[in-house]
């Protein structure tokens, strides 16, 4: 195991505070100035089942969790069985000795200690925090301070319980893992929080959503912050209503965004096409989970790429981009909001559960967010769909003395319905011009992340899988060039030319290799092989680095 990485894994039933314990652990590490990556694995249920949270930390930037943990804390039997093989070399497993006996692991009477307090097994999470604190030699008073701020219910009981557990653990493995301090404390946020904050920084005014994992937490975050930022945030009756409301809002000049997953986006495609012909600026957050249909709600996949590139009937300009990291999610959401307004067309920020719901320490330069702006009409008679050199018509919003007509039928420049043959092709040509200037714009901007290495085999990947690849290479000290196109439509083929005849492999989370197909079709790349995982789980860096070695 990479000696600079320490991993903490906590597992138990839903409702026992597993995720919260992971998040408090992450804050303990970040308070030590270390970088953190937290991945929560949970089932689609409210109580019971098996959930676990993995938190990997390092004094250097870390871009993935590791499944082999140095410290595994299990609240129940099922968790012990599940994570028996997830212990790193020199790692330890701590289990609830009131539930079972286990060799080669350290038992702590979690249940009998917790039963001394009214909250009982709701305190297991606090117990895990105490176990972690003891094993890494994190001082009690610092631990108590964190518990005080993170567990506001029953503070004194929690602290008393934590201190008892801390004292039970200490004689055997107190300060067993001494973690080097990092350079500074950084905030920890999820991908969905970064998307929400990026949208706000980019000028968001309204957000519509219908709950669907893994996009729901955008709706929840924005609903909570609506008043603070002067936003309107609405949970509507369906994704069909969601997209049509957002389009109505955009008509008034409101920077509008919606968020969903594959199934919800399927319902939105009718409105997506509507945004195409009405030239409505609209940003859609599409966070992928395993499909088809209901699929596996709380896990990850990258199988909606092809769908996102072609969704919606008819020809129109669709902008699709996918962020690799939590930081990039912030910048790219703001930039996408800007692009859809600049080019008056709908766009998709394509992400996946792994980015949406994982948490990371971040260094964000807030100012760097783009501010969405549009070409405005400056006086005189107004025509909504005025033809211009670049195909982008100046905008004007009601209330106005001018007449502003947006139309779902093919229309003339004023916005009146037409069936005239010349006008139909004229409007197609007008809208189609926008692709050229979009490409020109993108050529002047950063559209592909390339990490150079000297191994002759290049690795192509996209979305948060980029982080898994980076970490795998770091772990195994392999030195490949990694190419991650941020934009998927239009695909920045001008940046990919140099790799055309080189040896390339693709790493993605889709059984049919949708990303590899895109690269072959659009960029003419030769792909030697595809490493794909489609079991709903993100790649583990160690397993991935082994897979890479196998195909070389």
């Amino acid at each position: 195991m990479d000696s600079d990485v320490f991993t903490f894994l906590v597992g138990g039933k839903a409702g026992e505070g597993v995720k919260k314990a992971g998040s408090v652990a992450a804050h303990i590490f970040s308070s030590m100035g270390r970088y953190v990556f937290q991945m929560d694995d949970y089932m689609s249920l409210i109580r019971g089942g098996h959930n676990f949270s993995v938190v990997s930390t390092s004094p250097r930037w870390i871009s993935s969790h590791y499944l082999k943990a140095n410290l595994v804390v299990n609240f129940d039997k099922r968790s012990c069985e599940t994570h028996m093989n997830d212990i790193a070399e020199n790692g330890i497993m701590i289990f609830n000795s009131d539930e079972q006996e286990l060799e080669n692991a350290i038992g702590i009477p979690l249940t009998s200690e917790a039963e001394k307090y009214p909250m009982k097994n709701l305190m297991f999470g606090v117990g895990a925090v105490a176990i972690l604190s003891a094993t890494i030699g994190f001082e009690k008073d610092k631990m108590n301070q964190i518990i005080r701020s993170e567990y506001p219910r029953g503070i004194e009981d929690n602290i008393s319980f934590a201190n008892t557990i801390y004292d039970i653990v200490s004689p055997d493995c107190g300060a067993k893992f001494l973690l080097e301090k990092g350079d500074k404390k950084r905030p920890i946020i999820t991908g969905n929080e970064a998307i929400s904050l990026g949208a706000i920084a980019g000028g968001l005014n309204v957000y519509y959503g219908y709950p669907m994992t893994p996009a729901s937490s955008i709706l929840h975050f924005l609903a909570k912050e609506a008043e603070n930022f002067g936003l309107a945030v609405v949970h509507a009756e369906s994704e069909i209503a969601v997209i049509n409301m957002a389009i109505g809002s955009a008509f008034t000049g409101a920077k509008s965004m919606v968020g969903t997953s594959g199934g919800g986006f399927a319902l939105m495609t009718e409105g997506y096409s509507l945004a195409g012909i009405t030239e409505t600026p609209l940003l859609i957050i599409l966070s992928q989970r395993p499909g088809p249909a209901t699929g596996v709600p709380t896990y990850t996949e990258q199988a909606d790429l092809s769908f996102s590139l072609t969704a919606g009937h008819g020809d129109f300009l669709r902008i699709v981009a996918s962020p690799a990291t939590v930081e990039e999610a912030y910048y790219l959401t703001a930039e996408m909001l800007n692009l859809v307004w600049r080019f008056q067309t709908p766009g998709i920020l394509l992400t996946e559960k792994h980015l949406s719901e994982s948490s990371m320490t971040i260094d964000i330069d807030l100012e760097k967010a783009k501010w969405a702006d549009q070409k405005m009409h400056n006086g005189g008679d107004y025509k909504r769909y005025l033809d211009t050199a670049d195909g982008v018509s100046p905008m004007l919003f009601p209330p106005s003395k001018e007449i502003i007509k947006w139309n779902s039928y093919e229309h003339d420049e004023f916005g009146i319905t037409t069936e005239n043959a010349e006008m139909i092709s004229f409007m197609h040509d007008k809208r189609n011009k926008k692709l050229e200037i979009l490409v020109e714009y993108l050529k002047a901007h950063h559209t592909v992340n390339i990490t150079r290495g000297d191994n002759p085999t290049n690795i192509f990947t996209y979305g948060s899988t980029y982080m898994s690849v980076l970490e795998a290479l770091k772990y195994s000290k392999m030195n490949h060039t990694i190419i991650q196109p941020i934009y998927l439509n239009p695909l920045p083929i001008w940046e990919l030319k140099e790799f055309k005849d080189q040896e390339n492999i693709v790493i993605e989370q889709s059984i049919t290799g949708q990303f590899a197909t895109l690269l072959k079709e659009k960029a003419g790349l030769k792909i030697k092989t595809i490493i794909n995982q489609y079991n709903g789980r993100p790649f583990d860096p160690i397993e991935l680095s082994n897979k890479i070695k196998e195909v070389l």
Binding site: P187, I189, E193, L197, I200, A201, G203, N205, V206, Y208, E225, A226, E227, N228, F229, G230, L231, A232, V234, A236, E237, I240, A241, N244, M245, A246, I247, G248, S249, A250, F251, T252, G253, A254, S256, E270, G271, L274, T278, I364, L366, E367, A369, W371, F397, P398, P399, S400, E402, I403, I404, K405, W406, N407, S408, Y409, F414, G415, I416, T417
Partner: protein, 279 residues
């Protein structure tokens, strides 16, 4: 009045009930202006169907949406900028078939929009299929043996859904209809106005004229309103229900306006910085 027309050729059938609605709306706009509702603040939406052609003919700003979805566009307009007055045109298929859920929810939320339902009880533009308000037994190309479904009762349906102004007018009584539209637009909340509107290839004016009646008295309570909506026949005109409850956008954000009172980038970044400090 001519100034409310665009240059678009009118393609409704000669004698269509839609002309009556078109005239009533054009009558209502200047009268609404006299009451302080500025024309520049009025925005229209339409779905798809014969009703929707009014979008091209009326020289007012607006959004011509998809079949069944325009009430969601209307809601989005109102939520983003509550200074706008939204008049939402719909056919009975647009609003009560494809768009039923959206219509019901707009009423449930008491969105401050005026929903005008052009009820011709038929899918006119797509050649005469039965509609949600067609009589049982209607023979159209999709129901050659007659439809098997009972029509909705739009009055009681919308009262139950939560509309706070529910009325019925007739395209053949423009004065009465104009008055109802004015009251509907002035009403703060979801105003639902059903307009009986013959589509002449399928229904004759005489079928309506012979049967039209007026409510003697506006019902005063929810109970009376439901009773009237259920007991009176479907050619009964008048205001069936009127009540007051908070409108959606005010429940959502009070007197705020997400557009005119939007925060600057600097203020936003300042607040984001604060959030990150606690993360």
């Amino acid at each position: 009045m001519e100034d409310l027309k665009t240059y678009a050729d009118i393609t409704w059938c000669p004698g269509c009930g839609n002309f009556g609605i078109f005239t009533a709306v054009r009558n209502a706009i200047p009268l609404l202006e006299e009451k302080g509702i500025k024309r520049n603040n009025i925005v229209i939406t339409a779905g798809i169907g014969c009703h929707a052609k009014i979008f091209d003919y009326l020289n007012l700003s607006g959004f011509y949406g998809l079949h069944g979805r325009n009430s969601s566009n209307s809601e989005g307009i109102k939520i983003a900028n509550p200074d706008l007055k939204v008049i939402n045109f719909s056919g009975d298929a647009n609003g009560l078939a494809e768009g039923l859920a959206h219509t019901m929810f707009a009423a449930k939320r008491n969105q401050d929009i005026t929903f005008i339902l052009h009820n011709n009880s038929v899918y006119a533009l797509t050649t005469g299929q039965f509609s949600p308000l067609a009589e049982k037994g209607w023979k159209g190309p999709s129901t050659p043996r007659g439809s098997y479904e009972k029509p909705f009762n739009p009055m009681s349906l919308m009262i139950e859904a939560g509309a706070t102004f529910v009325a019925r007018g007739f395209a053949g009584d423009i004065k009465h209809l104009t008055d109802i539209i004015i009251q509907g637009v002035e009403h703060e909340g979801f105003s639902f106005i059903e307009v009986l509107q013959p589509a002449v290839p399928y229904h004759k004016w005489v079928e309506y004229r012979e049967r039209v009646e007026y409510l003697e008295k506006e019902p005063e309570t929810h109970f009376e309103a439901i009773k009237a909506a259920k007991e009176k026949h479907k050619f009964t005109l008048g205001i069936f229900f009127r009540t007051h409850r908070p409108v959606y956008h005010k429940e959502l954000y009070g007197d705020h306006n997400p557009i005119t009172k939007r925060l600057s980038k600097e203020t936003r970044l300042e607040k984001i910085r604060k959030i990150l400090e606690s993360k």
